[in-house]
Symmetry: C2
Subunit: 384 residues, 2 copies
């Protein structure tokens, strides 16, 4: 298992070496986890400049085994550090008195002979950046940019397995809720109930705060559950997902409460469903991100709902619930196989409510059966 | 109500003006909330350079009403923005196509005639900082430092009321759990149950991830609940807190499962209890942070547990669960009245478990009755 992480680090070191910098400092938690399998709170990863002290610039070929260091602060509450180390990764737990682990990492890189350190400028605060510069003024600081995020984009089969399990858990939790009595219960309680069921079925926790939206709230993305109770005739939209071994998926469904949906509810549902299906069908390797977005957007636009739409139709998922790519009109780039994304169009009519339908799918080649739907709960309009 | 926020902003503008900078950009969410009463995701607050375009440097006297702007991105999911605006605060919702609100704020500051912009270097990423510099190269960027955090340190009575209600909710949730059957249930389930009860009693949510630690896990700070089940003879330590209107408190208690605690359990409990009481009694206005820490630490140290202790005995609470001051050996500063802090010593014996006792209290003058205990659940060693 640890070989996976060693390989990922080797790829990143090679990538860094190609563009110059000798050592890299990874501080974004999901990136640290991706590269080491663990991320104790506050830990940072120093790549390519660990134990090779004085031997050169650590240009990061695969032979530089043992040159990565995971630096963990002893947490303020004295918890033991959970971290995985192997022959190619050294684990260093810093004493409570130590400065920022990023500063220690920079000093280590300098001592190991690196002359350049690439840091994650998108994640590092100005204060930490300055502290690194002050502690190791001889180091030239470069920007690692989104190098790790780009490595994370295409998932391997183990990662997809985690996402698949996360989706199974999510479907189970949602399925159980649908069998219970809903009228009279508050959005807040239903959301908590769903989160409890996620954990019951083996999730490490919810992938993001569960959203339950009733009546006039329905159809809004990431609605924060309120004390409004479910009523007869309501649209009910829920959005939830499990976190399984760090991997996060997402499902969103809209139901009608009562026996017979109103005509406007059926029409709106059919429309959003058609838009969502069009976008799902557009998920092929090579498709432009913006084309997937357009497949759904043009249907909703033609029906007169263009103005109120969310700026993006969906997004990548993985170790974070919202990662690259963004499926939006202005996004540049094309889908690859094995990229998991959400497809989540929605229409919300102020004062009346609305519909959102949200799936997590993995882009697959046509020959492999096309897009793999992970969240399989029915998308029929159920009356509950 | 909005006058409270206007006054806070006026104080901060005065503070900034005293040290030079003409406008200030607040991006840390808890700070934005403190100064406006709301914090839509991604919002930033521009102080002292809003509508006074061209009229000068906006040096921020209290007469500069209407010169603050809360800039909110339209969220990717199309949610409506929840923000409060009044005559002294303008709310600007940016279109989905807009750049970072911090960049827009910098451009606005420049247009309004500011020559200096103080930013929160501890919070702002290097990338955002550079984008601000690129967008408004004529602006001199300064560091706002922890100016807002320092304003937040001493709480007003409305804030303390929120904390008191948060503590009441927390005590209720914990009290109910103690009446239920615990043996055989997992840490994870008990934690979820506690969080559900917090919401039942009116919390907006948990103040932080609820910790439930049984047997060998007990006594560890911020232990992440596992699938271990409660057993007869276990120590059970729980740590939870409610978030009420943004204000967060914390309680930690340790219990024994079964009828009769073992001798070592009673001894360890009495010791931690004595240490916690000593620190609580040391909470007086004017007491050095480090002296409060020492009051507890020396007792545990004398008993031979000095090495394994957490680096800090407690911390401030408010809009964040961990804020200034830190009660630690190296902390510089003295307590003021109306500062709420936690007092949470613990001893964990590897393989056996341990004890943590954690209260939230407000520092008060002796004449006002001394420290006000917010979390009133009994600290007797209960056998459950």
């Amino acid at each position: 298992m640890s070989q996976v992480y060693a390989d990922r680090r080797a790829r990143l070191r090679a990538r860094c070496a190609a563009s110059g910098p000798a050592a890299a400092l990874v501080s974004r938690p999901a990136n640290v986890r991706y590269l080491t399998g663990a991320c104790p709170p506050g830990a940072v990863l120093l790549l390519g400049a660990g134990t090779g002290a004085g031997t050169g610039t650590g240009t990061g070929t695969a032979t530089d085994a043992g040159t990565d260091v995971l630096l963990c602060p002893r947490t303020p509450t004295g918890d033991p550090v959970e971290g995985r180390a192997d022959e190619s990764l050294r684990l260093t737990v810093l004493p409570p008195s130590a400065a920022d682990p990023a500063v220690t990492a920079a000093e280590l890189a300098r001592k190991a002979g690196a002359d350049t350190l690439a840091v994650e400028e998108r994640h590092l605060s100005v204060t930490r950046y300055r502290a690194i510069g002050d502690a190791a003024p001889q180091l030239r600081l470069a920007d690692l940019g989104t190098a790790v995020e780009q490595e994370r984009l295409v998932k391997d089969e183990e990662e997809i397995t985690c996402l698949r399990i996360a989706a199974e858990i999510t479907d189970q939790a949602l399925g159980e809720l649908l069998e219970s009595i809903l009228v009279g219960r508050t959005e807040r309680h239903l959301a908590l109930e769903l989160e409890r069921r996620l954990v019951d079925h083996g999730a490490d926790g919810p992938a993001f705060p569960t959203s339950v939206a009733t009546g006039p709230h329905s159809g809004r993305g990431r609605h924060r559950p309120s004390d409004r109770r479910v009523e007869e005739g309501d649209f009910l939209s829920v959005c939830l997902g499990a976190n399984y071994r760090g991997y996060r998926c997402e499902i969103g469904r809209t139901f009608v409460i009562g026996t017979t949906p109103a005509d406007w509810q059926i029409e709106l549902y059919d429309l959003v469903f058609a838009a969502q299906r069009a976008a799902r069908e557009a998920l092929t390797p090579g498709a432009a991100y913006s084309d997937v977005d357009r497949a759904a957007r043009q249907i909703l636009d033609a029906a007169g709902y263009g103005d109120g739409l969310a700026p993006s139709l969906g997004h990548g998922v993985g170790l974070e619930i919202e990662e690259d790519p963004q499926l939006s009109p202005s996004a540049m780039g094309k889908l690859d196989a094995c990229v998991p994304v959400t497809v989540e169009p929605g229409v919300h009519l102020p004062g009346r409510g609305g519909v959102r339908i949200d799936d997590t799918l993995v882009v697959r080649q046509e020959a492999d059966g096309g897009p793999e739907l992970l969240t399989i709960t029915t998308k029929e309009l159920l009356a509950l």
